[in-house]
Symmetry: C2
Subunit: 147 residues, 2 copies
DNA sequence: TTAAAATAAGACATATTTGTCTCTTTTACA
DNA sequence: TGTAAAAGAGACAAATATGTCTTATTTTAA
């Protein structure tokens, strides 16, 4: 096993990207999203509840309710979804699992890993959903096609 | 949760680094290693059994037995330990968990993630344990000091 | 005002990972 | 040659992650 993001987080990222590829202010229920992303409806609900609680996604209850992006795609970065679901531990802990790994007491790959980790953080922080929109639409359309 | 390597793999990497920092051909039993790395003896046995099976580590049964590096530190790379324990999936699967992510059907961060992933693979493949030896010794000594 | 359709919340079930224990086999050495 | 100390193997237990279900609440619209 090796994981970058948990399944929950992967789904959260996919769902938010999915919403960002739709018309502004359009509303999607968990059923719709689950069919498009090909994952269980209940799992979608669960994950989007987390993202609703952290303010990235908005929700509307009741008939004709659903989920929507709570902010403009331009103001949302992937790192926020990661932070809300998995937390940012992976950007802090020693990759080799050594206790007390730090600048003063570095592990054998501390510097090199630190660089990679910073690059990864950068990648998830710099681009917003608007920047990714075109690629996202292409990918979502492909998913629907192969459903 | 976010994980780069599993606990087993972290321990495997630590144990192999530990052995590489010791005198050539010296033999360490799981008790010794567990005390130095501050992890349960049984877990050390389990993980080193895996690495023994894959030929990276050697073992000697019976009284005064233990584990040792089966090859010269110069000929062992961290990626081998990762490959033996966690496998190389993380270097192949889509970071967002999309099905069918490929050059033809890339996810929105395919190229950028691919670059980072390649860099990480590079880092684990290029340096051998000999290259890391000095840093490893420093870190191991620090661990022992804080035990 | 009522029925239907949606999220919210949390309990529950299953799968996987992590960690522990026991028994067997092997080996050194007294 | 017998005993102690080690790895090997696999069963078992506990913790965590993943996935499902049920019930409550909210909202729309007939």
């Amino acid at each position: 096993m090796t994981v970058i993001f948990s399944k929950k987080c992967e789904l959260g990222l996919q769902a938010v990207l999915f919403l960002s590829a739709q018309d502004k202010d359009s509303l999607w229920n968990s059923q719709d999203i689950s069919e498009n992303l090909n994952v269980p409806k209940e799992f979608v609900s669960k994950v989007l509840q987390t993202l609703t609680a952290s303010g990235i996604v908005g929700s509307k209850k009741g008939k004709a309710g659903g989920f929507f992006l709570n902010r403009a795609p331009k103001d949302i970065r992937l790192i926020e979804i990661v932070s809300a679901i998995d937390g940012l531990d992976m950007f802090e802990n020693c990759v080799l699992g050594f206790r007390g790994c730090s600048v003063e007491k570095p592990c054998p790959v501390h510097d090199q890993w630190g660089k990679l980790r910073a690059d990864a953080y950068e990648m998830l922080s710099q681009q917003n959903l608007e920047d990714l929109k075109e690629k996202t639409i292409t990918k979502i359309n492909d998913l629907i096609r192969r459903r």
